[in-house]
Symmetry: C2
Subunit: 648 residues, 2 copies
């Protein structure tokens, strides 16, 4: 709707090169953090400062299908970028921009997910001009229209619990400092922060020279010596326990990667030579092909023998714990205080003693440094695990079944440097259970578990790949490898919530392979309750029309639908060939990323773009690990499942 007062453009005389608009200051600071794309949806109260994005070299705006998806995308961007730069806790945040009220509230659930799962997201909200805020004017997007008029800050209050810091900008004089403060908080805390920017304020000018002052990202409190002493104290305490242990092990959980500790963790593990376990959310932080890797566990659930090995350990160094029900097999992990060292994002806990502040990545580095040169890895004291039995490949005519589907996907679809985003649903159970090739990123929002997330996040991760941020970086900041795709694994039910984001993927030619499990609805809910109830059916869709709807340049050659294992094998081979062809010209996607949007390009042109692989499975077919989890509820549940027709 019409912007009520034409915002003032405080005259910047043509030769005023010493000042810049505050909006530009904000984006330039964000660019300094490494971020190269701002994701969002325009609105009356941000349009003017969206212009300022183009003033910052190397930064672009990427429009999303809606604000919730934009939030998911910013989350996916941050995940992909932070896992690649595994040695830095200062990896680029995802950045989201929305408009007053309608936009910021639409995004709220996506930001909440980032909060729950420790993702660095900066949410910039365009607010109404300050004069209208002061007079409580009944401007559109207001929450009420009664006297004395709406409180324009009401929405800022509603997001308080999903952020760790907020800059409520009001005066141009302290705005730059405020911006710096919250950006640093985001990078340090790896959780969402908000920047509330009144539209008129975004156009006021600040000294350009402020941008030359480097952003101060160091931890705020305490003196350096005390901080170092704390790290030493914690590290020595851990080393002492390690010295006494007979059967020590390391358990890597997801917050290790979220707080920039993946690289240090890998080096530490190699040096210690201890067996390594991972949680399902922490999957693939340590390469699953590493000889020290024992297995991936969701509480008790995992490949046969893995949980038992974990129980043999008399000391477990638990890195980056995220102890949610869905990451601990409903708290069945069995890691009691008496044999566990909890290394959290900002503290270490050993029995009743807490070492804090003790940030994870510096601690791991310090630990590595303090290991005595004389230390030699113990001869493995663990009963070795029998190699996994080769999964029998079903006959080509056999209908797809989840028990055999996922190992095939893992072995034949996934390649090093792929970034997997797996949605809550049957698929993430199935895929988590397979063994990944090295250098694969795995992201699943298993704790917050908002469905639709993976589709939006895949778009954001694709943007990060295109920005060159989601692949291992050389010192100078350019990617070391050219490959790297996003593999979105989602059920049809979850996909329905966020499907417009395929439009963003196609428009920008993002290298996303969508693995869509079409089982006619919410299968994971069916196994929980109401297998046959209509509420677990979704709106039917014919996915052959999906890529054409979004004007994919070559829709028919990028869409494959499989009902049998024969079809799946063939499809996987074709996708492999297509990816190989496309990655021979790594910059093709980049070059045409915007130019060709909406125009038909010749079928089969060499180009990374969205691939859609639709897998038809039965609506009562679930991966075995999910079935085991549900059966563990008890005999009455098993009986219910049988009654409902599940293959128990």
């Amino acid at each position: 709707m019409a912007s009520p007062t034409p915002p003032t453009h405080p005259a910047a005389s043509a030769d005023d090169t010493t000042t810049i608009p505050l909006g530009q200051y904000l984006w330039a600071r964000i660019r300094q953090l490494g971020t190269r794309s701002v994701i969002g949806v325009p609105g009356d109260f941000n349009l003017h400062f969206l212009d300022h994005i183009a003033l910052v070299p190397g930064l672009r705006f990427v429009g999303a299908g809606n604000e919730l998806n934009a939030a998911y995308a910013a989350d996916g961007y941050a995940r992909a970028a932070s896992s690649a730069s595994s040695d830095s806790s200062a990896s680029p945040p995802g950045v989201l921009v929305t408009t007053h009220g309608v936009g910021e509230l639409s995004a709220l659930n996506g930001v909440a997910g980032a909060h729950a799962e420790h993702i660095a997201v900066v949410h910039v909200v365009g607010q109404t001009p300050r004069a209208l805020q002061r007079s409580r004017a009944c401007i559109h997007h207001g929450l009420s229209s009664e006297a004395p008029g709406p409180d324009h800050q009401v929405y800022a209050g509603m997001s308080e619990k999903v952020r760790i810091a907020a800059a409520k900008l009001w005066d141009v004089d302290d705005a730059p400092t405020e911006i710096d403060r919250v950006l640093a908080a985001c990078v340090r805390g790896r959780r969402p922060v908000y920047v509330f920017l009144p539209l008129d304020l975004s156009m006021e000018r600040v000294p350009r020279a402020l941008l030359e002052r480097p952003l101060d990202l160091a931890p705020p409190e305490g003196d350096a010596a005390a901080a170092a002493a704390m790290l030493d104290e914690a590290a020595n305490a851990i080393l002492e326990l390690l010295g006494k242990a007979k059967k020590a092990a390391v358990f890597v959980d997801v917050l290790t990667a979220r707080h920039g500790g993946a690289g240090a963790a890998r080096r530490l593990i190699r040096r210690l030579g201890l067996p390594v376990f991972s949680s399902n959310m922490g999957k693939a932080i340590v390469d699953e092909t590493d000889p020290l890797f024992v297995g991936c566990l969701n509480g008790r659930m995992g490949r046969a023998g893995v949980f038992e090995r974990l129980q043999e350990a008399d000391l477990v160094i638990l890195l980056g714990d995220l102890p949610g029900d869905t990451n601990t097999g409903f708290f069945s992990r069995g890691l009691g205080d008496e044999r566990t060292v909890f290394v959290g994002p900002f503290d270490v806990r050993i029995n009743d003693k807490t070492y804090a502040p003790c940030p994870l990545a510096p601690l791991l580095t310090r630990l590595l440094a303090l290991i005595p040169p004389t230390y030699t890895p113990p001869t493995p004291a663990f009963t070795p695990l029998a190699p996994a039995p080769p999964s029998p490949t079903p006959a080509p005519t056999a209908p797809l079944a989840q028990a055999h589907l996922w190992p095939l996907i893992a072995a034949q679809l996934l390649k090093p440097h792929d970034i997997v985003l797996a949605e809550t649903g049957t698929a993430s159970f199935g895929l988590a259970d397979t063994l990944f090739p090295p250098h694969v990123q795995w992201h699943a929002q298993s704790y917050y578990g908002s469905i639709g997330w993976a589709t939006g996040a895949a778009a954001g991760a694709g943007v990060a790949v295109q920005d060159g941020l989601a692949l291992p970086q050389a010192e100078g900041g350019s990617p070391l490898v050219a490959e790297g795709r996003v593999v979105l694994v989602t059920g049809d039910g979850s996909f329905q919530l966020a499907m417009q984001e395929v439009g963003t993927m196609v428009k920008h030619g993002l290298p996303v392979v969508i693995v869509l499990v079409n089982n006619g609805g919410y299968t994971i809910e069916r196994i929980i309750h109401g297998a046959g109830q209509a509420y677990n059916d979704i709106n039917p869709a014919a996915y052959a029309h999906l890529l054409p709807l979004f004007r994919h340049p070559a829709p028919s050659s990028h869409y494959r639908r499989c009902s049998t294992f024969g079809e799946l094998s063939a499809a996987l081979k074709e996708i492999e060939a297509a990816t190989a062809a496309a990655t021979q010209e790594p910059s093709a996607a980049q070059e045409t990323q915007d130019a060709g949007a909406g125009t038909e390009r010749p079928e089969g042109a060499r180009q990374q773009n969205v691939q859609l692989l639709e897998l038809i499975t039965d609506k009562l077919d679930v991966p075995w690990r999910l079935m085991e989890t549900i059966k563990s509820i008890g005999p009455h549940k098993v009986a219910e499942l049988e009654r409902e027709g599940f293959a128990v």
Copy 2:
């Protein structure tokens, strides 16, 4: 994800007919309010009490594409149903059901819109079981996982400002009373209320007999005599002013309809015989074919001469004022206190005096009763308005242009009992400017203005039509007419945000005509700022694939794409014929509503179902009223528009 603890089903012995689960109690109470559909998305923490919906005769669950759309749909359901039952302030609320955290937050923006615009919506949230709440268990959908564990009630706090009442259910003993309290608050206040229902509690049992106690919907406070005296006092004060006025007029704004006063307002106006104006949001509450109707205004903006007539009045009775910028031409309405009586939803204000509590619908009824029998309508003292010049119909080969498009749509597409939902964007400016046939409902979320709303709300309005609630009702509650379609008018930009809801429309065979203005992006934003900026482009789409994607039974015969006026005329004739054919068998849609979902039905079968009319317009083409509004900003803006290529 797996529900952690299998919820207990407190044994209801086979012959226990005297108690029912609390979930069933809730739905039965909602059914007593007249609601026939519950709209939402399932989740682990509501599945069990979704089963209880089926226990209530005449109530069904309708799954939406996502929770935000579900909230919009519940809003649209309430709008459609409340306008039809124009004589009752107790019309059925829209009812929305979501799951803990992820669901309720996703819906928040939609509920906020209902709050801003006075829509009765009941939001039922399935919460985690109480034991897990008490222990702050790290159950999925938690906002944090650090000690002492997440506060499960944190989300309930976040929606506090978008509701007027909440039942935070905890004890089965007082739960029924709590439910009754908030349902009554919703019906009386015509704004959202929340019911937070822990999953385990939903299965505890309450006496069935409680359902026989009628819901008490009467205003809570004060005694009846005092309330009646207040109504009399206000009514007499108004009559006194009317007696003194030389040129009185009535201005009908949207809250009149929202608070059940539409019917009373129409009768009052007829009896008073005064000229009637409406705001753009209040459009068509009084039939625009009524001889007393002068015109529809957005502040100063309207058909030539209308604003001037309004200025001639020495007394304006302003009913149901919603004084937002977008409903008052940015506060240019010129209705000063000295000549205006403000009749609000719950009070009357005359200069400095406020009469309260003074609910709108009873006041209008009382006013009507108090008009002395001797009263005769004044001979119109207003300068009559010249008839509108006939809009020249462009040549059939002329490309579509918004200036001439909307009168054609109004004249040839809209029929009595159609329910129009117009999205924020160029279209709602264009369509608001045309003259409607009688008995058309008009809904535009112009104040809250969250785009995507209209698409979701159209699905909800379609459900209400199918439920028989959105058409004039006979005493017994069955619809008086069989026709009645939903006409969704939306830009492509807004549509993108909520497009999955077309799946809901098609699955249920809802009688929705989608008028989709395809102008390559956010045109209304282009005229505000950044006409040529890439951020105002959206992801391109080829809408011919939309109905096939959602398995429309006859996609090609229900899709029309027009670039010229000739094509539009032809399309409108075809749609007219199709509607006529379909409404000859009014129950066809009803019968097949669920059966055929997902299966192809023979092309051309007689059936109300989604029609898609795609209109191609230029990306810088806007309706004249919008252009006038923007030009009024000043000469610098006019110059900017010219530079950018607009036809100023």
